[in-house]
């Protein structure tokens, strides 16, 4: 019997595909998310929009909050550790969370290195803006990838940009003659081994979700069309007027992303979406997507 194998770690991500992972900050929100059909929840102290508003240093959530959420739902519970903070990650592993998000939403703890994720039993998901970033995280042991987008903005443009960038670079990598691959990976900052695995499969070697700015069922569906395997919704649900209804609609949208009549039906009467932010109005130092190396 073997535990913590790459197959078991990537396997849980495979099971989450076609699903919605929702940020929650209380047991009550976790129950609402589960009832709405979330395939997992992300246990947090604050959603990204509130982290952005609060400023200062954002850290791993209080274990009490995470434990309470783990107690009330039967679906997988994820939690966030700071980039490079392997002790926060060990604490989350000891709590028994099902996935760790090494996340740019929190303030990085290491300005050069991410966590060496290979020695952990718990699997990790990491953010990316391009293929090089995705494959560096995979080489460090990430079992799942997500686009970064720009968290807490309710603006999907960055998630779309990052997803298109990754997909474009995969298409390029797959079309290159073999002798040009080493230079291509040098230019995009991708480790060769992970790049070769990607080339062989014709896609990332692990599951890839969308994240960062998804606020509506249509936002979720466009990310599925662009080739994502599922979506994370952070502030988009519990910062909207009717979280339960919006959560249900986004779950439906991810399953029925090609069925426009159904999308039209489920997009009706959802109440106000979360207030959005124009990316250009965010000071460069406050852009979460630039965190990570």
């Amino acid at each position: 019997m073997k535990q913590g194998t790459m197959r078991v770690k990537t396997g849980l991500a495979e099971m989450l595909k076609g699903g919605v992972i929702m940020d929650v900050t209380t047991p009550e929100q976790a129950k609402i998310a589960e009832k709405a059909g979330a395939c997992a929840v992300m246990a947090l102290e604050r959603v990204p929009a509130d982290i952005r508003a609060a400023g200062g240093v954002a850290r791993m959530a209080d274990p009490t909050i995470i434990k309470k959420i783990m107690e009330v739902v039967s679906i997988p519970v994820m939690a966030k550790a700071r980039i490079g903070h392997f002790v926060e990650a060990r604490i989350l592993e000891a709590l028994g969370v099902d996935y760790i998000d090494e996340s740019e939403v929190l303030t990085p703890a290491d300005d050069r290195f991410h966590i060496d994720k290979r020695g952990f039993t718990v699997p990790f998901v990491c953010g990316c803006r391009n293929l090089g970033e995705a494959l560096r995280r995979i080489a460090e042991g990430a079992a799942m990838i997500r686009t970064k987008g720009e968290p807490g903005t309710g603006n999907v443009v960055e998630a779309v940009r990052h997803c298109r960038q990754v997909m474009d670079e995969i298409r390029m990598l797959c079309a290159l003659p073999e002798d040009e691959v080493p230079n291509f990976v040098k230019e995009c900052g991708a480790p060769l081994e992970a790049a070769l695995a990607t080339r062989k499969k014709g896609r990332l070697p692990v599951v890839n979700f969308a994240a960062g700015g998804i606020a509506t069922p249509a936002d979720a569906a466009i990310m599925m069309h662009l080739g994502c395997d599922g979506v994370f919704v952070g502030s988009g649900i519990f910062k909207s007027a009717d979280p339960a209804k919006r959560a249900r609609a986004i779950v439906q949208a991810v399953t029925n992303y090609k069925d426009y009549a159904t999308l039209a039906e489920i997009s009706r009467d959802l109440g106000e979406a979360m207030p959005g932010m124009e990316i250009a109005n965010i000071a460069p130092a406050e852009r979460m997507q630039d965190r990570g190396w």
């Binding site: 078991v8 849980l12 076609g18 997988p76 099902d98 699997p123 779950v251 159904t262």
Partner: protein, 191 residues
């Protein structure tokens, strides 16, 4: 099996892997996302995923009754992990929507959380002498089993693969490995 149309429930979860495993064995696939996709399928596969999510989408899509009817009429069905849960009559501590056609009681996440997920080589007599590479992910097991249910495999003493006439269910995920014996066994049930 060239004329057979396999329906793979594609509401959420690892349906792509089941479809690929069946295609490798020469079976035509249809992904089921809505009620209108059901007509004309000869057999059904319910993949792993999140059973509460899939059950809710089955209910909202009004697919539970028509699928249950077909299974009760003898349509072969195979469920892995979440699929097994959705097939069971009783689910411990849960009132989640289900097909409920398998005379058994299931405990969800019975082996523990993700950190307890594991791989094991299982002896399954029906699949031959070579042990089967079984991947268990937050896996369930069966705690009570009806008289008409045959246990095909056990892990840590718990029933993790069963058959009841036209119904096959496993706690583990053959679709995540290259070993096609479990899918072949299911297709042999369909002859």
């Amino acid at each position: 099996m060239a004329n057979v149309c396999a329906g793979v429930l594609a509401l959420q979860g690892a349906f792509r892997e089941h479809a690929a495993a069946l295609r490798r064995l020469g079976v035509k696939i249809r992904e089921l996302r809505a009620l209108r996709d059901i007509d004309g399928i000869d057999l059904l596969v319910i993949p792993g995923g999140e059973s509460t999510t899939i059950g809710k989408l089955l209910l909202e899509g009004q697919m539970l009754d028509p699928l249950r009817e077909r299974i009760e009429m003898g349509m072969p069905v195979y469920g892995s992990c979440a699929g097994l849960i959705l097939l069971c009559r009783e689910i411990e501590d849960s009132d989640q929507p289900r097909l409920g056609v398998l005379d058994a009681t299931v405990r969800r996440n019975a082996f523990g959380r993700q950190v307890d997920s594991f791989e094991a080589a299982l002896d399954i007599a029906e699949l031959g002498a070579k042990p089967f590479p079984a991947v268990f992910i937050r896996a369930p097991f069966l705690t009570k089993i009806g008289l008409g249910v045959q246990v095909l495999a056990k892990a840590n003493g718990q029933a993790v693969a069963v058959r009841q006439k036209n119904i096959l269910a496993t706690s583990f995920h053959p679709e995540l490995t290259a070993d096609s014996r479990m899918h072949r066994y299911f297709l042999d049930m369909c002859k």
